[in-house]
C-alpha cells in the first residue's frame, strides 16, 4: 500500500495547441497526458514535440503528474518524440499500442538509456501502456509484468472497438471481457487499472454511469478528453462518508477481535475477517488521499502481529 498516488482523472491535452498546454497548471485533474499521437496531424509531428519540450521546460512548479503520449514504437516518430521530450522531464510515457510485453520492454530499455544520458536514477521515467487491441487484451497479464516502471495498465476502448470491428456503445456491454482482462492483469501485478475515455462531452449522465460501472469493476481511474469531465469522475471516485465511517468501525472491530485472541468478529450482524479489513484499509487509504481522514493504515492494522 506504499505507492498510493491518486490517479482518478487523466486528462488528454493535444500537444500542438498552446492554448490548451498552458492551461495544464489550472486543470484540477490528477494527471495530464500530453498527446503527440492521435491529436497531432502527421504534418505537425515535428512542431508538436518541440512545443511540448519548450512548454515542459517552462513549467517548473508542477502540480500534477505529467505523462506524454508518444507515437507508437512501430512508427517513425517515436524515437524523435522521446529524444525531444525526455530532457524536459515528464513523469512518464503513455505508450500506445502496447500489444505485447516485448513492446514495453523495448521502451523500458530506451528510457534507461536516456536516464543514463541525463544523469537520472534508473526508473525515473514511468510507463503507462495502452491496452487497446485484441492482441493487447490477450497479453495484458504478461504486459503488466513487463517492467518495474509500470504505474498501471490503461484500457483504450476507442482503438479496441476499432480493432474488433465493432461499435462502442454508451452502456459498454461489448467491453466487459476486455475490461476484465485488463483488470486481472493489473491487479495480479499490483498496479493500477485506468479506464478509457468517454467521448461524448455533452452526455454527463452517461459519463457518470460509465464511471460508476468501471469503479465497481475495480478501475481506480479514468482518462478524459475534456476538463469538464473532471468533476464527475472525482465525485464518483471519492469515498462516500458512510463508507469511510464503516471502514473506521471495521478497523476498530478487528483490533478488538485480536485483543480477544480471534481473527474474526461480528459488527452489526456482519462477519468481519481479513478480506473485509483489507477492503476497509483500501477505503481509508483512498479517503486519506482525498483528505477526508488522517489515519494511516499499516500492515499491522490489516494483519495483526505474530
Amino acid at each position: 500500500m506504499a505507492d498510493y498516488k491518486l490517479r482518478r482523472s487523466l486528462l488528454y491535452v493535444p500537444g500542438n495547441m498552446p492554448s490548451m498546454l498552458q492551461n495544464i497548471p489550472l486543470f484540477q485533474c490528477d494527471a495530464v497526458q500530453i498527446d503527440l499521437e492521435d491529436a497531432v496531424p502527421l504534418s505537425e509531428k515535428d512542431a508538436a514535440r518541440i512545443l511540448v519540450r519548450r512548454y515542459l521546460e517552462n513549467y517548473k512548479d508542477r502540480n500534477k503528474e505529467i505523462l506524454v503520449r508518444i507515437n507508437g514504437l512501430d512508427t517513425k516518430w517515436a524515437l524523435d518524440d522521446l529524444k525531444a521530450v525526455l530532457p524536459a522531464l515528464p513523469n512518464g510515457i503513455r505508450l500506445p499500442k502496447a500489444d505485447s510485453p516485448e513492446i514495453v520492454e523495448r521502451l523500458d530499455t530506451l528510457l534507461t538509456e536516456y536516464e543514463e544520458e541525463l544523469g537520472l536514477e534508473v526508473g525515473y521515467f514511468r510507463i503507462l501502456p495502452s491496452i487497446e487491441t485484441a492482441q493487447g487484451v490477450l497479453n495484458a497479464a504478461k504486459t503488466a509484468l513487463a517492467s518495474e516502471r509500470l504505474i498501471g495498465l490503461a484500457f483504450g476502448a476507442e482503438d479496441y472497438t476499432a480493432t474488433m470491428e465493432i461499435n462502442r456503445t454508451k452502456t459498454g456491454e461489448e467491453l466487459f471481457n476486455a475490461r476484465m482482462n485488463v483488470l486481472w492483469g493489473a491487479k495480479a501485478a499490483g498496479i493500477q487499472a485506468i479506464d478509457s475515455i468517454f467521448a461524448d462531452v455533452n452526455d454527463m449522465e452517461s459519463l457518470r454511469k460509465e464511471t460508476e460501472l468501471i469503479k465497481k469493476l475495480g478501475f481506480t481511474g479514468k482518462c478524459m478528453i475534456n476538463p469538464r469531465q473532471i468533476d464527475i469522475i472525482h465525485d464518483v471516485f471519492a469515498p462516500k462518508q458512510e463508507e469511510v465511517d464503516y471502514a473506521l468501525e471495521v478497523i476498530e472491530a478487528i483490533k478488538r477481535a485480536r485483543e480477544m485472541g480471534t481473527g474474526v468478529i461480528s459488527l452489526k450482524g456482519k462477519m468481519i475477517d481479513r478480506p473485509v479489513v483489507v477492503r476497509a484499509a483500501r477505503v481509508l487509504n483512498t479517503a486519506r488521499a482525498h483528505g477526508m481522514v488522517d489515519v494511516v493504515i499499516n500492515e499491522e492494522d490489516i494483519n495483526g502481529t505474530e
Partner: protein
C-alpha cells in the same frame, strides 16, 4: 541554423503564432501581433534570443502573433528554422 529554403510553423489560433522564415541576405524580423503595442519589444527580444541560440545570422523572419507566450514563440521559430533546412 542556416535558412536554406522557406520554412513555416505554427497556427493562427489564440495563444499561438505563425512563423515564416525565408532565405535573405540580411537579417530582417517583421512582427505582426494582436498585442503589438504592448509587447512588440518583448517578442522581438525573444526572437533575437532564439536566433542567436541557433546561430542564425541572415534571413527574413515574419511573425504573426496571436498572443503567444515565450515558450511558444521559441518553439514555433525553432520548428520553422528546422523546416527551413537548417539542421
Amino acid at each position: 541554423m542556416k535558412i536554406l529554403k522557406k520554412g513555416q510553423a505554427g497556427t493562427m489560433q489564440s495563444s499561438d503564432l505563425m512563423v515564416v522564415v525565408e532565405p535573405a541576405e540580411d537579417l530582417i524580423v517583421e512582427i505582426e501581433s494582436t498585442v503589438k503595442k504592448q509587447f512588440e519589444h518583448l517578442i522581438r527580444a525573444k526572437i533575437d534570443e532564439v536566433l542567436a541560440k541557433f546561430d542564425t545570422k541572415s534571413g527574413r523572419i515574419s511573425i504573426n502573433d496571436r498572443g503567444a507566450l515565450d515558450y511558444a514563440i521559441e518553439a514555433r521559430l525553432e520548428a520553422a528554422l528546422q523546416r527551413a533546412g537548417g539542421k
